[in-house]
Each structure stands twice: as C-alpha cells, then as structure tokens.
Amino acid sequence: MILPDPLFRMDSISKRYGGVIALKDATIAIRPAAIHAVLGENGAGKSTLIKIMAGVTAPDEGRMVLEGKDVSFSSPAVANNLGIVSVFQELSLIPDLSVADNIVISKPPRRLGMIDRRAQRLIAEEALARAGASDIHPLSLVRDLPLSRRQMVEIAKALARKPRLMILDEATSALTKSDVEKVFSVLKRLRSEGLALVYISHRMHEIAELADDCTVFRNGRSIESYRAGTKTDQQVVELMIGREYKSVFPAKPGPQTKQAPVLSCRGLSWGERLVDITFDASPGEIIGVGGLDGQGQRELLLAMFGVLRDVRGDLLIGGRSVHLSSPKEAKSAPTSIALVPEDRKTEGLMLPMTVRENISIAALGNVSRSGIIDRSAEAASIDELLKLLAIKAATIDMPVSSLSGGNQQKVVIAKWLMNRPHIILLNDPTRGIDVGTKQEIYQLLRKLADGGAAIIFYSTDYDELVGCCDRVLVMYDGTIIRTLEGDEINERELVGSALNITADAVAQRTIK
C-alpha cells in the first residue's frame, strides 16, 4: 500500500535486544485523519515499534520521517513536543498522584514557577470530559481507581497533550464494553478532527469497527499493509500467525448429567462489595462470570481464594463448609483452588526470576521433601507443563520477564496446573493475548474441565464468555443478577443483563 503523503513514516526499522531481534526491516506509514491498526501475535514487535515511535527506545537502524523531515527522538518528551503521544500497554500513570496531576504531568500549567493547581484542574476536567470519563474525580488518587478507570485516565492524559499522532497500544484491553464504546466515539471524533491514530488491539471486532488502514506484523517484520475491509478476518488471522486458522473455540460438551458440585457458594457477602452470592460449580463445568467491570467479580474470586477478610456466608468445597484465610489454605490439598490473577506482572509473576522458579513456586510442596527441592523432579514436572501449554521459552532458566506477554500468561497458568487444582479461578486470563494463544488457552480450559476440574472464568470479552462457558453468572453491583445457560449465552443477553436492563430494551437499542 503506497500512501501519497503520510504524516509519519518509519522505514526499515530494526531493533535488537541483546540477541533478540524485536524488529527487522519494519516499515509503516501513517496518514492523518485515519486510524491505523497494527496487528500481530504476541511478541510480533508491535509494542517495540510503538516504543520507538514514541521515543521510549531508539532504533538500531532505519529512519523516521515526520512531515517529510527526518526525525529522531532522544526521549519521550521530544516525541511529545512534536505531537506524538502514546497510551502505552503498560500503564504509565503515577499511582500516588491525583488524576489531575497525572493528566497534566508532562506540561503542567505554571504560575510564578509553581504549578497552578486551579488551571491544572480545569485542564483535567476538560480532558476527562473529552475522553468521556467525566465521572472520574480529578482529585482522586490514581491508586484508588480500578484498572478500567485508570485506562480512561491514561487516554485523557494523552488527549490533554493535544496530539497530532496518537498511539494506543492495547489501550482498551482492560475496558468494558461500554467504556470501549465511549472511547471509540472519542477516537472517531478525533479522526474527524484530523488526528492520525495508531491502534493496537488483539480484538478483531474492534479493529473491524475502527480501522482505516492496517499493518500486520509477524516475527518483527511488517508483513503487509492494506486498507481496512479488503481482507476477511480469516485472511488477516492467517497473515498474523502465518498458518491456517480454524475456529477459535473448542466445542462445548452440551448439557450433561450434572455431578455433585465441588464448590458451592451460599449467601457469600463481603462488606457492600459482594451481596448474597449463591451458585454451584460441578467438576467438568466452565462457569463464566460476566458483567461490567468492577461489579464485584474480582472480589468474588478473591473471596473464594481466601484473600478477603470477614466474608460472610458459606463456602462449601466438596460439600463441606470451609473457612479459608489465606491462598495457602486455598491451594492446599483438600480444597485445592487455584487463582490466575488479574495482573500477571504484579500478581502472577516474579518477573526477574526464572521460568523454573515461577512455575514451581505454587507447587513446591509437590517436588520437595522436608523442604529440600528435588531439582530433577521439578524439572520433569515443568517440562511436562511446557509441552502441555506450548510455552515458548528457550530454557527454563531464563528470566520470565524475557518471555512475551502471552507466554508469560501461560506461565501463570502453568504454575497453578502444577498444583493439580480441582477448582480453577481465572481473572481475565486472555487480556492482551493474541488470537493464536487465546485459542490455545480456550482449548486448555476445556481439556482441564474434561479432566474433572471446575473452572470459574471472569472475562471482559463477551465473545469469550459466549464461546467458552457452559454457564455465565452476570454480576451487577456485587450480586449475581442473572445466570445464563445454554442458548441464552449470547452477546445480547450478556450486554442486557450486564446493564441490568431487560432484553427487550437491548433489542430496541440495537435496532436503533
């Protein structure tokens, strides 16, 4: 695809990290007033490209041209000053500062050399409004916001810088559908105002809705650029993964005779965040948890994992009432619960430690005798898991931080599988994971369920809930407002119950 006069062009960019080739001969051209989607598997080099574009890292080779002039960025600030602003995949907010502080962070308004807090607040309010997030109070600390709100702040922060080229690297991965819609309308408006936008997402339907141009990356190379709509999804995915592509979701077993529940919640409550949660989970079942983000799903998983204090109501495991007061108790033999947490970088992994140490950390008891680790037994178990999950790691003695995000996620899952759990709780396990890997994870979940595990699976992605789950609990305001089963599990019902409105209303809205 040849563009007449792009706003920004990157030519033959290469970047190596030590021996790792992150980008090789990558080329991309971005025109104004358009949304340019960048697609690719995990580790394809998208984030690296973005980091170079935004001045976070410097390329080893290649050149960058902004409006016909060669440019190079020594720091993010330089790129910002030229109007290139990005919303990074790893959030770049300062948790201990207020939302307003964060929004004006790179260029706060000043009076007499000091930051003018009143002006700053006005700017913040305006930016939040533009991002469609005026419900966020500019004085609240970022630390106190849930992830989805933080991502809205991140977007507002980028907007406040009045960019010419705005980059969003998986900026919507933590957002709920309604937020995504808000963001999309903002993005579309920005496009109409002449902004150039670069958009990275692993969600195909988002790209279908937004993109004008697309570039596919694979193994650090830019494979092809094309106008949106000129290829089918099937073709795009095959470009990305470089092989043929079949249906994403494994077949559901369909209705079966239910076994006795292995886990039951009876009137589980926690403060005001969880109210009277009651449901059963049987071996072999994949139970989805849906709803808008922040309706208590996270707390529900944590409550079942023994993290929350003063949980009222009953939790029955294998029919016996248990009182869990720590993850250690939750994971130990009779209960045997596993939790794949929300944020793999801070809750799932010890990034600088090796793959070996990470995978075996939750199941050290299985491979040790009286506290001494049997290294060969450990290696054997790990090998098995690496194969089962197809984790791409050169050796198990490399730091887990040098794996790609998708592989890191698989490590988190592997570490719990090593403990052979009966009950697996997953908190949005496929966030930021490419289609190929997602597919592997879905298949794995089904395999685990068939092997007799009960799986409880929270996701922000409705497609996933629809495709994977035997039952979906939709949560609203800390309680389960609906349980969907069988054919009821479809996007319309999900959205409808998530917003706590009747299906008819949704239908009307959809028609409109």
Partner: protein
Amino acid sequence: MTVSHGEWRFWYDLHKGTLLAAMLFVGMFVIYASNHPAGFTPNVIQTASNKATLLAFVAMAQCLVVITAGIDLSAGMVLVLCNCLASWLVVGTPLQTGLGIVAVLVTGLACGALNGVIIIFGRLQPIVTTIATSAIFFGLALLLRPTPGGSVNETLADAFTSKLFGVLPTSLVVLAATILLVWLPFSRSVYGRAAYAAGSAESAAFMSGMPLKRAKLSAYSLAGLLSAIGGLYLTFFSYTGEAAYASGNAYTLYSIAAVVLGGVSLAGGKGSAIGAVFGALAFRTIGDLLFVFDLDPLWQPLFQGLVLMLAISVGAIGLARVRNRLDWFQ
C-alpha cells in the same frame, strides 16, 4: 489551601499522615508541658523548640530524598560537616559572618549534589552510596575539627536561638520560613512533582517524559542544603564545632524515625516535609518526657525505646481494618 465543599475527603486522604503526626506531637507535648515543673512557659517552649528544630531540618532533608524512594544515610554527617565548617567561618564582622553562612549552605548543597550525582548518574543504590559518602563527609569534618572547638558569632547565634517578642522561639520562625521558602516551592514545582512520581512509579514517570534526573538531583541537593541549615543551627546552639561520629549517625537514624512518624512512606511517593517536621517534633518530645516522668536513669533508654516502638505501632492499627489482604502488599 482552599478546599471547596465536599472535597475535603480527597484533601484528608492526601494529608492523613501529616495530620496524624501533628496529633501525635500535640498529644505528647501536652503531656510533657503539663507535667513540667516550670509549666507551659516560653522558656520551656524555647528549650524544646531549639532542640527539635535541629532534627526537624534533617528530617525535612530526609523526607525530600525518601519521597523519591531513596534514602540519605549521610544526612547526619552533612550536618556534622557543616557544623565544623560553620565553627570556622560563621564568625567575625557581619559581612564575614554572612559570607560564612553562605559558604556553609553551599557546602551542604554540594554534599547533597554529590550524593545525587553518584546515585543518579552512577546508577547506584542510595543506601550504600550514602553510607560511603557519609564516611567521606565525616573524614572532611575531622580534617576541619580534629578536636572540638571553634566559635561562632554569638550575637547572631543568640538571636537565632532566642525568642521573638519574648514569646515566640526564633527557631520555630526559621523553621516555618524554611518550609515556606524551600519546601512549598519545591513541592509545587515540576521537579517536586517529578520527585513524587519517581518515588511512586519511576518507569511510568519516565514514559511520561518527566524530568526525573533533575528532580532527583534537586531533591538530593536540597536535602544537603537542609542538613546544612541543621548544621548551622547546631553551631548556633552550641557555639562550637565537633566532628562527632556518634551524633552524626544518631541524627541520620533519628531523621528516618521522624520521617516515618511524620507519615512519609519509606517506599516513596507519599508524604510531606511538614509531616516530617511534626514527626521530628514528636520524636524529640519522646526524649523530653524523661523530665516529667521520674525514671531511674538506667531505665531511661528503655523508656525511650518503648515510646518510639509505641509511636510507630500506631500506624499498624489501621491494619486491623484492612479487609482485603492484598492491601497488605501495596
């Protein structure tokens, strides 16, 4: 600061630590003053405030560095070094004295900047770096004052340690002025904000293009400056200079205690120098309590230790209210 209606909650959240420290101090001081044989007189307050300001300056210095998630184990030695230097320079005619004060302050600034430069550009960990530089600063102090001695412009010294209008201790006024002239401008400047950001989430701050290096450098330099003010005050207070290893170390450790009592998070990114000042005042009051409780001298160190233990445990009370155990790990 103007707080519009309904937003006090955010303000309170932000200043909780400082308020707690202020309450702790007021509580302890009331116990002290109301049991003092001489009562709540200007003299008693002057004595207490003279002693406390010294630590308050070092605590402010420590606070600046701690906010960036660093630590300055050389703060006490900068104080000692500046004390020794001042005992040479802050004497003579008003002009000489003035120049001497400037020289001492510049020296403190330079010590802080040296720490900053090594830590930032050498990419070293603050704890060890400042352990090493504190040896250097102490060596210099010993060169200046192999034995205690020297003198200071006594008129000036008396002026700085006496009372304004017979009631208000000058040292408190100087302390307030320092907060006003050093801390407030810094905390509201771009560098100040970057210092908080560096302590809170360094890589995020870098991604946002904040001037991290300059912010940290200014935090360390200002810390040196504040310690130097402390050293100057020590000179005013004692009329001499002394290269005292033990008291240098003691000030460093006390300043950490003061900062924690003042609600500043040792992990960085949270707290304010005003809190640290209250922390210092509270910490000093612990020592003062010895006067009003008639304790066997041999039990006094234990008493002080226990009160400190108690004071820092106050922070742990909130823990009982944590209902999500993950909040332990913030």
